[in-house]
Symmetry: C2
Subunit: 360 residues, 2 copies
Amino acid sequence: MVEESFKTKKRRMIAIAEDSLDFHNAKTACGIIRYGFHDLLAVIDSTKAGRTADEFVPGLGKKIPIVANLEEALAFKPDCLLIGIAPKGGALPESWMGVIKETIAAGLDVYNGLHTFLTNDADMMALAKKHGRVIWDVRKPDKNLPVALGYCKNAKSYLLHTVGSDCSVGKMTAMLELREAIRKRGVTIEFVATGQTGILITGWGQPVDAIPGDFMAGAVEMEIMALDGKVDIIMIEGQGSLLHPGYSGVTLALLHGSAPDALIYCHQSDRREIARGYKIPIPPASVMCKIYEDAAGWVKPTRTIAVCLNTSRQDEKEALGAIQATAEESGLPTTDPVRFDSTAVVDAIIADYKKFRSKK
Amino acid sequence: MVEESFKTKKRRMIAIAEDSLDFHNAKTACGIIRYGFHDLLAVIDSTKAGRTADEFVPGLGKKIPIVANLEEALAFKPDCLLIGIAPKGGALPESWMGVIKETIAAGLDVYNGLHTFLTNDADMMALAKKHGRVIWDVRKPDKNLPVALGYCKNAKSYLLHTVGSDCSVGKMTAMLELREAIRKRGVTIEFVATGQTGILITGWGQPVDAIPGDFMAGAVEMEIMALDGKVDIIMIEGQGSLLHPGYSGVTLALLHGSAPDALIYCHQSDRREIARGYKIPIPPASVMCKIYEDAAGWVKPTRTIAVCLNTSRQDEKEALGAIQATAEESGLPTTDPVRFDSTAVVDAIIADYKKFRSKK
């Protein structure tokens, strides 16, 4: 779905992150701060008030003040509230409903990326109507989504998809970094967001992990086909991992719905197994690439053409060592596109895109 | 979810299948007729009135009369209506809403297996309340479903999962036939339904293809863990195919959420490619088994121990030839459990279950 006002008008945003402003839970807020079109002015977290967000989230770049409550946040003259941070359990805490209602009454729009939908709450909707405010549940699926028909197998644009070893390894971040570098080479490129953070950055996309199973692949196929032929390269954001017992179905739906011409494999260089206690080891990059190529190949053959590592938890020497070791093990150009030069990876993408185009 | 009244009280059912009573669309009605606990008395389809359902659906066994309209169906003194047949497009035709309302007003409950939910229609709900009737949207997901945590990797019961070459090849039918044969061997066994037809047969289960992506695997894991240790064998119904561009995400979520100890591979013996124009060839059974074993193995190692063919569109000689060829190609015991003796397949399951138990 597309939220036109969100896409075109620069907003003055505050975020609520009560007791949740850390590396894992703040994924959405961090994405917005680093890559979003809008200004995020302050974060509400009474447990950390008076400090700045970058003290709790590595690699944030900007110093965003943390305040104790809505009243203090309103001093920044915001026009919208972001609930883009996943509290423990993934659902919206009941205790946040009061402050969200106060926010609407104060004249702010609300953007919510959680699985709990505010627009299902009749009181909340009545309040929004009374104050003429927008509530956007980013993860609420569109109605009447299609079943995938396999159209992307024959797309005119070059389809590039990120896949990963696990959740939260930097698949979206890698794409957004590479997108800028590729644009500078004079190639037109669009990014299809498939998760709440990506959608909140671009203003549109499909929240694939919230879409009913039968329509996940169809939803992403629909977005790709709407763009097909209008740009040289379409990047499709990946989700989860084929190795993740909870999310692998979403990952495969994206892989088959997008039927990519090439893959970028993403991994957090110091992670040895699937996060949060699943006890599933992550094999070397060459094995992971083979797994993704085999699975994609059930629908359309593809190849992994580069690797992006997230080295944010390693010092520079360790990071460069991990990149070199992965490049040798996989035989593929490898970088951390946030931290180091990405020329070799961008070269590989441009070369593969040109080969694709010459065959058309 | 569990619908207690549906599970325990024998119902007098009619089905609506206007212009849809054929092999593919009638899948749900056929399952109910063949394996359901309830009596299906008549089918409404004005285009075929005066004939019987078995004339249009091969292998049905029973002669169910087809009538022209609700009035004629009411002559059978039914107490509930089944909308268990998928009309073209998968959604409920708007034109059926009138007759559904008339049915409720006539004092019948309504069971709906489509992606369109009747309980979202305020008028329909008001009418049901007025007449004291139940509307069960079989595919409406439960609220607050969990993300899979990988519990099934260590289940106490033996977990047996059917996987297949495509949709509608007979995965559920094979399980229901094998369940009876296994029960006769003195082994306790339960069947976890994961689709609308299975749920309408057993009265409970998880409609995995209608569940938001993040919770598909968790929903099936939750059902399995609720049964774990209470029976010797838990059978988990499979859906779709890893080769199906539209549904493969659902298939993988089931495979990883259930983390099975063994697989039964199912295939319709005369089908050469994925149905409905996807142009994806179906490889030999040995290749399909390897694909499923590899994919399952990303989470927990497993093996395929038998093959069930659906030979319903072949004559007896062709059917027996297909079974023999598949047994030789795959090296696995193979049968059509609906049509022929299933001793070899049941023996393989019992032997593998005993091996599993001896290791515990």
